[in-house]
């Protein structure tokens, strides 16, 4: 039974091990997501702690990983907005500055966090020689430019690129099995 199945079977109760597993898996993208609202790392750490504790407290009704993911996003958004409102109250006397968070920007922030997660997972899974080439081509460099910069033949670059593409496709199949329920 994988960790994923543990949640799917509703066996999360009592298993804080699953929380550890989810923390390792999603911390990076959730931090990015929280940072988008809060703009400082001190509160980001706090909000992540609260989110995972709350996930554990609500484990009975969270029966799948997509639900857990959706729960975390929502929790962080709501807490972050509360924190921002508190900041806002103090400011209201000085300048009229109203914080409003639309459903749309919530989804945009999720998209950003998810893409960041996907990319870092995909890139991490590559062998280091492929990784350099992959990063360079992500920065918009042409195969020719990469081969000049790395001082290797264009055929080597092509070969590495096709290895990394094959790997990425495989990784992505695993990644996208998971939906997010919001």
């Amino acid at each position: 039974m994988t960790e994923n199945d543990i949640i799917l079977n509703g066996a999360l109760s009592g298993e804080s091990r699953v929380i550890n597993f989810l923390y390792d898996k999603y911390a990076v993208q959730l931090r990015y997501f929280a940072y988008k609202y809060l703009n400082n790392n001190y509160e980001v750490d706090d909000i992540l702690q609260e989110a995972f504790v709350s996930l554990w407290e609500n484990r009975k009704r969270i029966t799948s990983e997509p639900m857990a993911k959706g729960f975390l996003y929502k929790f962080i958004r709501n807490e972050a907005v509360t924190k921002l409102r508190k900041r806002d109250v103090k400011k209201r006397f000085e300048k009229l500055h109203n914080f409003e968070e639309s459903e749309e920007s919530f989804l945009e922030n999720i998209i950003e966090a998810e893409v960041l997660h996907n990319l870092s997972q995909a890139i991490d899974s590559l062998p280091s020689s492929c990784r350099t080439i992959c990063l360079m081509s992500m920065q918009g460099m042409k195969l020719q430019e990469i081969s000049e910069k790395l001082n290797v033949s264009i055929n080597t670059v092509k070969k590495q690129k096709s290895i990394s593409n094959a790997r990425i496709r495989k990784i992505m199949e695993e990644l996208f099995l998971l939906l997010i329920s919001i």
Partner: protein, 372 residues
């Protein structure tokens, strides 16, 4: 938007960026992009060359920090478990539980302030040997001075270099062999030669110091410091070298300031300050409130309408604590105060906190400045 298919878009964007998408997927993505202006904006942001790097930079945690955060979560969960467990086993124990719960969840309890240990002031001998100086004053004219040093200076006629290094959190008074007095602020270093003779009295210096130079018209006192020379006849002044600039503040007498290339030169009058920009080599002068630049030598922190960002940076340099502003706008709050430097950094910070404009907390060996 459909409630559970919205990770289709992240998938398509990821595939696009990695260059592994099919024609159909590209078409689907194109569809989404043209659906709204904000979609297109999000797409372009994600496709920019430095998105991953920038994104990971904000969220970077070392493995230890990550582990630490995870442990905090686990600890909090086990506390809740403990609490629930007690409730389950005994209703009668409710009173204890409440007491425990109060103890465990009292909010607003401050993290404990990091304890900082300061190193001692060091005298470096020409032999490379280092001596820890126990007193906060060293008189090079007096007999008490380390024997090893006297010997080496009398045995060899060639001048040998000595350095006094003052670490964070310390200050040190020094009487030079010509009777000139120097007070070194923390993070400073002075290098002089013994015997202290010749046509000029030359001293190399880094950091911040106060100088009272004894008069000797025949032998000018020359202080060389990161690209700038300060030439003195008999006067008192303060020098402070930062990464980007060197400030020379004159209190009495007169000094001549010259950059090493000898392109610029200035003669200062009392209450004037020469400002040397180490990157472009420009030398300018201005009139200043001298007290603010020399208060440290009399044992005071003195800030006259300075921003909190400036003040905390100053305090941190001298006390050696690390800090972080939880809200950027705090850095611009102006403060004026004069406090004794013998106070601990905690006392100084708590005094600032008493103004009720900010809140101070400690977190992971760091001081956190929060909005009140």
């Amino acid at each position: 938007m459909d409630k559970s298919v919205n990770n289709r878009i992240p998938e398509l964007i990821t595939r696009h960026i990695l260059g592994v998408s099919t024609t159909d997927e590209e078409a689907e993505l194109q569809n989404w992009r043209s659906a709204s202006e904000s979609n297109e904006k999000t797409f372009n942001k994600l496709c920019s060359a430095d998105f991953v790097e920038q994104g990971l930079q904000h969220t970077y945690r070392s493995d230890e920090e990550h582990q630490l955060q995870k442990n905090i979560v686990a600890k909090k969960i086990s506390r809740i478990r403990l609490y629930r467990g007690i409730v389950r086993y005994s209703a009668a124990a409710a009173v204890i539980v409440i007491a425990l719960a109060v103890l465990m969840f009292v909010p607003g309890k401050k993290g404990s302030y990091p304890v900082i240990e300061y190193q001692s002031v060091v005298l470096k001998l020409p032999s490379g040997e280092s001596i820890n100086l126990k007193n906060d004053e060293t008189n090079l004219l007096s007999e008490k001075f380390p024997a090893s040093m006297k010997k080496s200076s009398s045995d060899k006629p060639i001048p040998e270099e000595y350095s006094v290094i003052v670490p964070t959190g310390r200050t040190h008074k020094l009487v030079l062999p010509d009777g000139s007095r120097v007070m070194l602020n923390s993070n400073s270093e002075i290098t002089y030669s013994i015997p202290f003779s010749g046509k000029e009295r030359r001293v190399a210096f880094k950091g911040e110091a106060w100088f009272e130079i004894s008069k000797d018209a025949s032998r000018p006192f020359i202080l060389s410091t990161g690209g700038l020379n300060v030439e003195v006849l008999g006067t008192s002044f303060a020098v402070r070298c930062d990464r980007s600039e060197i400030r020379t503040t004159l209190v009495t007498g007169s000094v001549k300031v010259t950059d090493v290339s000898r392109r610029f030169s200035l003669v200062l009058e009392p209450s004037q300050q020469a400002l040397f920009n180490t990157s472009d080599g420009k030398l300018t002068s201005q009139n200043v409130n001298v007290d603010e630049y020399i208060a440290w030598k009399d044992g005071y922190w003195y800030f006259d309408n300075r921003t909190l960002g400036y003040i905390i940076e100053e305090l941190s340099r001298n006390y050696g604590f690390e800090y972080e502003f939880a809200a950027g706008e705090l850095e611009n709050l102006p403060f004026s105060f004069k406090l004794k430097r013998e106070l601990s950094y905690i006392q100084v910070l708590e005094t600032i906190e008493k103004t009720n404009r900010i809140k101070i907390d400690a977190y992971k060996d760091k001081i956190i400045l929060l909005e009140k």
